[in-house]
Symmetry: C2
Amino acid sequence: MIKCLKGNILFSETPEKLTVKANSYLVIEDGLVEGIYDNLPEKYKNCEVTDYGDKLIIPGFMDVHIHAPQWLNKGVGYSVELLPWLEKYTFPLESKFKDEDFAKKYYEAFVDELVHSGTTRACIFASRHYEATKLLINIMQKSGIGGYVGKVNMDRNSSPELQETYEDSVNETIMLAEEFSDCNKNNDLVKLILTPRFVPSTTSELMEKLGEIAEKYNLPVQSHLDENLDEVAWVKELHPDIPSFAEVYEHFGLMPKDRTIMAHCIHNNDREIEILKKHNVLIAHCPISNFNLASGIAPIRRYMNEGMDIGLGSDISGGHTMYMPDSCVAAVSASKMYHVAHNEYAPLSFSEAFYLMTKGGGKFFGKVGSFEAGYECDALVIDDTNIPKIDNMTLEERLEKYIYTGSRDNIVKIYCRGNEVK
Amino acid sequence: MIKCLKGNILFSETPEKLTVKANSYLVIEDGLVEGIYDNLPEKYKNCEVTDYGDKLIIPGFMDVHIHAPQWLNKGVGYSVELLPWLEKYTFPLESKFKDEDFAKKYYEAFVDELVHSGTTRACIFASRHYEATKLLINIMQKSGIGGYVGKVNMDRNSSPELQETYEDSVNETIMLAEEFSDCNKNNDLVKLILTPRFVPSTTSELMEKLGEIAEKYNLPVQSHLDENLDEVAWVKELHPDIPSFAEVYEHFGLMPKDRTIMAHCIHNNDREIEILKKHNVLIAHCPISNFNLASGIAPIRRYMNEGMDIGLGSDISGGHTMYMPDSCVAAVSASKMYHVAHNEYAPLSFSEAFYLMTKGGGKFFGKVGSFEAGYECDALVIDDTNIPKIDNMTLEERLEKYIYTGSRDNIVKIYCRGNEVK
């Protein structure tokens, strides 16, 4: 099936420069971008063209790190850092997801806000609860958008209400893998991901078993790495025989090559950077959360110089906003504050931050996040009529102004894999 | 005239802790807060009570640093730092305000957005144009909100289209002082403020004359100080005989005691801090602008420890949002990043940032920004129904959640000096 969208098309091929096609035709064949044309080629003359006039057509936003059960907590609790924050705010709320009615209500609200924020793919942490995680997968499957959902594994150092046993954690994870790993094989929009919370929450025994499950079912893995200095010290205490935090995941087989996301990566040492590169780990950069929890600033320019893969994460509820342009702006801000302290690392440009929010994070989902030929067509149509224009404004400037000063209300249409979502 | 508002009342008396009066009566007499009561005293039984039910009633937001003619530029141009940014983006736009039709159109839009953002008082830089500045004063006078407006003075180092002569600058400033200094004497809502752009833009001759005008008409002064290291070096080059940037203003009489605002104050040395304290200068902290232009982070905790006066500024268009809660959140974020680099300075709490946004900045306008008895009653009524609530949420948490995740659409009523604006 062939569709065609007409408008001002902007997307990233490289971080350095936006690709801009004014008043052009985006041809979509079976959900994939076939090409972009100034004039519609003869062979597509009979295709239905949706003309978006002077509006902007951009890739859907990619959120590569978000916690669905923390949705209710966004915007409160930023008076403490990571570890006390988990105890005081996060664990009590997540423990409520054992109640399926509660889970249904708030996961529906979460997915609804995700869709309306223009996020077309997300890597989502559920809670540790099996039933609620299935519910979330089902709600995501109905939503029209895609991504990965994982049941959190956590069999140590949590609150009594939330902690699970080793046996339950393994059994429930295997049950989910049996039920949903076909979604991964079939390249469904919504897939399963293994989700050990972070090293302090998972016993060695459990991490070892999860590593086996990752291999057996060919599942991707998401977790947290080097977010906070107290956390890093705690990991060292828990695993004195393993040289670094990253190597704990590596040791237990939880860093499968080309299919691992690690959130934050603020305090990584050189050795850990080499390990991330070796396994081609995608870094989920979550600048708003890193601000809120006083975690620090990730050296993103250094990672870019090293050729590493990077996407942006809202990290609800460490972050307080699911609307990814806020994280795009914060990524630029964070890089500027990093530059002030480390002059040798240049700030991110707007184009680079936009790349991270789209094609950078999109890589984890396949060929997603760009409009190059062969990419799955996730697209947002942006009506920026209510944003005041300067004379002779370029399309790049219109996009920048929308990202900085617009809101989710400017998103008037959403496509995921070529299908209309909103 | 006596009015009474009923609802959940929250405000700052000190930075440390919000004052919270659940389901209480705010009694306003002739625009001033008379008192807050659990039960309406007998003597007010016949007053009209506006019952806002479960809504929040908080002080209006105080924006102590904003450039009205830069409104159209917000959200573009953050690829460069301060000095090239002025050349490339700011001066070309400001030069258009010689055209009165252009000025009218965009100053009306600016004031409209200011009002709808919940800002009830602002310290505003106009452009250097006399007629356009009068227009802006008139538009502000009709708006129902208050603050200071200043014609910018700039007779050196600007673009040819924008730069003025010494004579024009002095004459037009005196004309405005003659026309509007009565507004200051009479404590009108909208007053005049002297506004030398910054040291590099004003010759010594002009600064000296402006110092005389400040004294003669008893006018307050606003300008910029120690925003950017290239700027600081330039000031040193221009005034090699004066030991510091701050002392240039002091030397020319442009730091009148208790009535001076200096924006940014990021790179101040110890000597300058003593000078600011001596003259009781209000620091306009503009964290979003400081992020966008990679200026650095002002050491706000240090200034608070020193007992200095501080308010928050949106600094449009260095900043990209006029909605002051964004600056409140950014002030907390900036302080956390400062804390990460300087462990001895604790981050700002939410309560402290809220204080800066209300009572801190409000001090420059008189007794404004709080609901203590005798304060001018600037109030916002916040309907947070659409913000999801956690069980047993306190009113402080509801306020924090509104500030972090709400928008200007949650503001349903605005009062300035006791009068309804919206």
